[in-house]
C-alpha cells in the first residue's frame, strides 16, 4: 500500500536526531567552519558515547537516512566527523566475509572513537575508477600496496586519530582493467600508509579530506574484500567490480539524505525569516497570482520533496531486497542538484543576510555543493541513470 507515514520508531529517531543536531551541532557549526582541520573532540566523544549506548546514527537503512538528514540539517561537515564504520564499513558490509565483518567492525562497539574511510579517487582518476593505478601485489601471506589516494573523506580520523581502517581500491592486474580492481582493508597503524595532505575546501570544512600515500604498505592476505581472483566474466565488468559498485546503491541515497538535510536547513532559515516579516506563502493560488518570491519558495520546496521521495524510494526498494541502482542514482543526482539550487536561491533571497558569515546560510550553500560531487558527481549519476533507462552497457554509452 502506498504510504508516506513514518513508523513510530522512525519518528522517534528523527526527533532524537533533530534534537542532537540542534543542541550539539548547530552551536559549534560556525566555529569549526572557521577553524578548518581542528577536530571537534568534545562532539566526537559525545557521539561515540551515544553510539555505545545504542543511540548510534550509523546504519544503512531508511531510518539511518532519516537520521542522517536531521544531523546534516545541523551541520554536514560535523556529520562527517561522526565516528562510525562509515563508507569503509559500507564496503566491508557489501563484500566482506562474516570473519572480516567481525575483525574489522567488531571493535566499533568498544574502546575509543573510530572511523572507516574509503580510498578510491587518485590524482589521475576520479569517476573513472577503473583507471586506478594503485597496485596490490601478493607476497606470500601478504599484499603489498603502492600508490597514492586523494580526497579520502575522514581519512586522517580513520588511520591517524583512531584505530579505524581505510578501504583502499587497488589493482591486482592492470591489464585486466576493472576486473583487476579489488578493495583492501588497511587498518590504522599499518606501516607504509601515511596521511600526507589535508585539503582546504569550499565547504564541509570540519571534515578532513586527505591524501594517503601507500609506500610498500603490507597487509595480511586476508584483508582483501571479496575474491582475489581476477575473473573476466564479460566485457562490462566482473562480479567483484559490480560488488564494489553495489556499495554505491547504499551510499548514494545516503548522500542524498545528507544533501536534503542541508537543503532543508536553508529552506527552514528562509521560511522562518519570512514568517518574522509576516510574509505568507499562498500555496493554492494560481501561478499568475503568486509573487516571484512565492514561486521561488515553492520551487525550492518542490525540489526538496522530489529529491526526498526519490531517496526514500531507493531505501524502500533496498529494504525489500529489490535492485535499486537506478533509483539510488536518481535520488543522488536529483538531491545534489536540489541542494545546490535551494541553497543558492536561499542566499539570493536573503540578500545581505544570506551572504554574511554572521549567519549559517552562506555556509550551507558551500556545504551543500559537495553532495553534487562526492560519491559520483551529478553527471556520473546521470550517466548511470541514462545507462539503466536505455539498457546500455558502459561500452554502449560512455
Amino acid at each position: 500500500m502506498i504510504d508516506f507515514e513514518l513508523t513510530p520508531e522512525q519518528k522517534e529517531a528523527v526527533e532524537a536526531a533533530h534534537k542532537i543536531a540542534e543542541e550539539l551541532f548547530r552551536p559549534i557549526s560556525r566555529y569549526y567552519d572557521e577553524h578548518e582541520h581542528e577536530s571537534p573532540k568534545e562532539l566526537i566523544d559525545t557521539l561515540w558515547a551515544k553510539r555505545q549506548e545504542g543511540g548510534s546514527f550509523g546504519g544503512l537503512d531508511m531510518t539511518a537516512a532519516l537520521r542522517t538528514e536531521e544531523i546534516c540539517w545541523g551541520d554536514a561537515g560535523l556529520y562527517l566527523c561522526s565516528p562510525s564504520p562509515g563508507l569503509g564499513g559500507a564496503a566491508v558490509f557489501a563484500s566482506g566475509t562474516p570473519e572480516q565483518l567481525q575483525r574489522f567492525l567488531g571493535n566499533y562497539n568498544e574502546g575509543g572513537p573510530k572511523w572507516g574511510a574509503m580510498a578510491m579517487t587518485e590524482a589521475g582518476c576520479g569517476s573513472d575508477t577503473s583507471a586506478i593505478t594503485t597496485t596490490a601485489v601478493r607476497d606470500g601471506d601478504e599484499w603489498v600496496l603502492n600508490g597514492e589516494k586523494i580526497f579520502v573523506t575522514y581519512g586522517k580520523k580513520a588511520i591517524v586519530d583512531s584505530k579505524g581502517f581505510v578501504v583502499v581500491w587497488a589493482t591486482v592486474d592492470k591489464s585486466a582493467g576493472r576486473a583487476g580492481m579489488k578493495p583492501f582493508v588497511v587498518p590504522a597503524g599499518t606501516p607504509g600508509a601515511r596521511v600526507e595532505k589535508m585539503e582546504k575546501k569550499l565547504g564541509i570544512r570540519a571534515s578532513d579530506t586527505v591524501t594517503i600515500v601507500f609506500d610498500n604498505c603490507r597487509i595480511p592476505f586476508e584483508n582483501i574484500l571479496g575474491s582475489p581472483e581476477v575473473r573476466k566474466i564479460d566485457k562490462s565488468g566482473t562480479a567483484g567490480f559490480k560488488k564494489a559498485m553495489a556499495t554505491f546503491d547504499v551510499t548514494r541515497p545516503l548522500i542524498a539524505a545528507q544533501a536534503l538535510g542541508v537543503g532543508r536547513a536553508a529552506l527552514d532559515f528562509v521560511k522562518e525569516a519570512l514568517e518574522k516579516e509576516g510574509i505568507e506563502i499562498h500555496y493554492g493560488l494560481p501561478r499568475h497570482k503568486l509573487t516571484a518570491l512565492e514561486r521561488d519558495i515553492m520551487d525550492m520546496e518542490a525540489n526538496y520533496k522530489a529529491a526526498k521521495l526519490l531517496m526514500l524510494r531507493a531505501f524502500s526498494l533496498m529494504a525489500q531486497m529489490l535492485p535499486n541502482s537506478l533509483e539510488a542514482s536518481m535520488a543522488k543526482a536529483k538531491a545534489g542538484l536540489a541542494v545546490t539550487k535551494i541553497t543558492q536561491k536561499a542566499v539570493e533571497i536573503m540578500g545581505p543576510l544570506g551572504y554574511s558569515r554572521k549567519y549559517l546560510l552562506e555556509k550551507w550553500m558551500r556545504d551543500g555543493k559537495i553532495n553534487d560531487i562526492f560519491e559520483g558527481t551529478g553527471q556520473i549519476n546521470m550517466l548511470v541513470v541514462a545507462r539503466r533507462v536505455l539498457d546500455y552497457s558502459r561500452e554502449q554509452l560512455k
Binding site: D3, F4, L310, R313, M330, A386, Y392, L397
Partner: protein, 364 residues
C-alpha cells in the same frame, strides 16, 4: 510505513487500464486528434471498466468500492499515457460524480448518482475556468445569488468539456465571494452552450464556452446543500488528477523518445549513445518519477482527509513544468521528425502545454 507499492487490487486496475490504453487508445489517438472526434465505442468500452462507477455507494446503484485519490491517480496516469483527450472524455462524468459522492446531500446523491451506474456512458461535466486574463478559481466572476428560494447564476465559463452533451453540469460560482458548486440540468433556461472551442491541444476533446444568463436553479441544487462544498478539497482533487495525467503524458513522451534514440543512427551509432541525448533522457526519467511520487503523497493526504493544499499545489506546479520540459525534450530528441505529425511527440507537447490551463477539467 513508507511504501511506494500499490496494493494488489490497485496493481490489477493499473494492468487493466494500461491494457486498455495500449490496445484501444493508442490505436486511434492520432486519428482522433486530426478529426476531433472520439468513437463512442471506445468511450463505452472504457466506461464498462467501471473506473468511475465502482466507487458509487451500493444504495445509489454502485459497487460501493473505496473512493481513493491514489487509485484515481494511478488510473489517470495510465489512461493519459494512452491519450489525454480520451482520458478527459472518459473521466468527465467524475467531475459531477465525485463531488456529489463526497460532498453532496443525501437527496443529491439519490437523484444524480444512479444514472452513472449504468452500463452506458452518460456525459456530465463541470465548469470552472472563465475566459479572462487573470482567472482565479478562488475569486470567480461567475456569481450565484439566492433570490426568492432559487439561485440565479450569471457569468461566462470556458473549457467546459462535453458541455453540449452533458445531462448535468456542476458550475462553480462565487456566492458572497466564496466559490461554491451548483448543479445545472441540461436545458435549464439561461444556460447557453456556445460553439465548440478550438484549442492547440486536446483536439479530440469537445470543450465549449458556456454562458449563464440569469440562469435560475432550485436552491437544493447547491452542492452540499446548506453546508455547501469543501472547495479547497475539490481544487486539490483537480490538482492531483491533472498532475497524474501530466505524468502519464510525460511518460509516454519519455518512452517514445527513448526508443527512438536507440534506433536512430547518426555518425555510425544510435544517438542515445551520445551523452547530449542520453542525459536528456535521464533527466526526463528522473523528473517523471519524482513528479509521480510527489503526486502520490498529495493523493495520500487526500485519502486521509488531511489538509493537502500545499502538497497538491507543489505537485501540480511541478507537474505543469515537468510535462512541458519532458514533452519538449521528446520533440527535441526526434529533431525534425518530432515536428512532423507522423510521430506522436508533437501531439504530446501540445497536450502537455495545456496542463497549466486545465484547472478543474479532471478530478480524482
Amino acid at each position: 510505513m513508507i511504501s511506494f507499492s500499490p496494493t494488489e487490487e490497485q496493481q490489477m486496475i493499473v494492468t487493466m487500464v494500461k491494457q486498455f490504453a495500449n490496445d484501444e487508445m493508442r490505436k486511434i489517438y492520432r486519428e482522433c486528434d486530426e478529426s476531433g472526434e472520439i468513437p463512442a465505442r471506445v468511450i463505452d468500452t472504457a466506461w464498462g471498466l467501471g473506473l468511475v462507477s465502482t466507487s458509487i455507494s451500493e444504495e445509489h446503484g454502485g459497487l460501493g468500492g473505496e473512493h481513493s485519490a491514489i487509485t484515481g491517480a494511478l488510473i489517470a496516469e495510465e489512461l493519459a499515457w494512452g491519450d489525454l483527450s480520451m482520458t478527459m472524455h472518459i473521466l468527465c462524468p467524475a467531475l459531477m460524480v465525485y463531488p456529489v459522492l463526497e460532498m453532496g446531500t443525501e437527496e443529491q446523491k439519490k437523484k444524480y448518482l444512479p444514472a452513472f451506474c449504468q452500463e452506458k456512458y452518460k456525459a456530465a461535466t463541470a465548469a470552472l475556468i472563465e475566459p479572462r486574463f487573470g482567472f482565479d478559481p478562488y475569486s470567480l466572476s461567475t456569481t450565484a445569488t439566492l433570490k426568492d428560494g432559487s439561485y440565479v447564476l450569471k457569468g461566462q465559463k470556458c473549457y467546459v468539456p462535453l458541455a453540449a452533451d452533458a445531462e448535468l453540469l456542476l458550475v462553480y460560482a462565487a456566492e458572497k465571494g466564496k466559490s461554491q458548486g451548483f448543479i445545472i440540468e441540461k436545458g435549464t433556461r439561461g444556460l447557453e452552450v456556445g460553439e465548440r472551442e478550438k484549442n492547440m491541444g486536446i483536439r479530440a476533446l469537445a470543450t465549449y464556452e458556456i454562458s449563464l444568463k440569469d440562469c435560475h436553479i432550485p436552491k437544493e441544487n447547491r452542492l452540499g446543500g446548506d453546508k455547501g462544498c469543501d472547495f479547497e478539497r475539490i481544487m486539490n482533487c483537480f490538482r492531483v488528477a491533472l498532475s497524474a495525467m501530466a505524468v502519464g503524458v510525460a511518460k509516454a513522451a519519455f518512452e517514445y523518445s527513448r526508443d527512438y534514440a536507440k534506433e536512430r543512427v547518426a555518425f555510425g551509432e544510435p544517438i542515445a549513445a551520445r551523452q547530449a541525448i542520453a542525459f536528456m533522457l535521464a533527466e526526463m526519467a528522473i523528473e517523471v518519477d519524482a513528479t509521480r511520487l510527489m503526486n502520490w503523497e498529495a493523493a495520500w493526504k487526500l485519502d486521509r482527509k488531511e489538509e493537502a493544499t500545499k502538497e497538491a499545489s507543489l505537485a501540480k506546479n511541478y507537474a505543469d513544468d515537468m510535462v512541458l520540459i519532458v514533452t519538449d525534450r521528446a520533440v527535441q530528441v526526434l529533431g525534425g521528425h518530432g515536428y512532423i505529425r507522423e510521430h506522436p511527440v508533437e501531439l504530446w507537447l501540445r497536450n502537455g502545454r495545456g496542463f497549466a490551463t486545465f484547472d478543474g477539467m479532471a478530478i480524482v
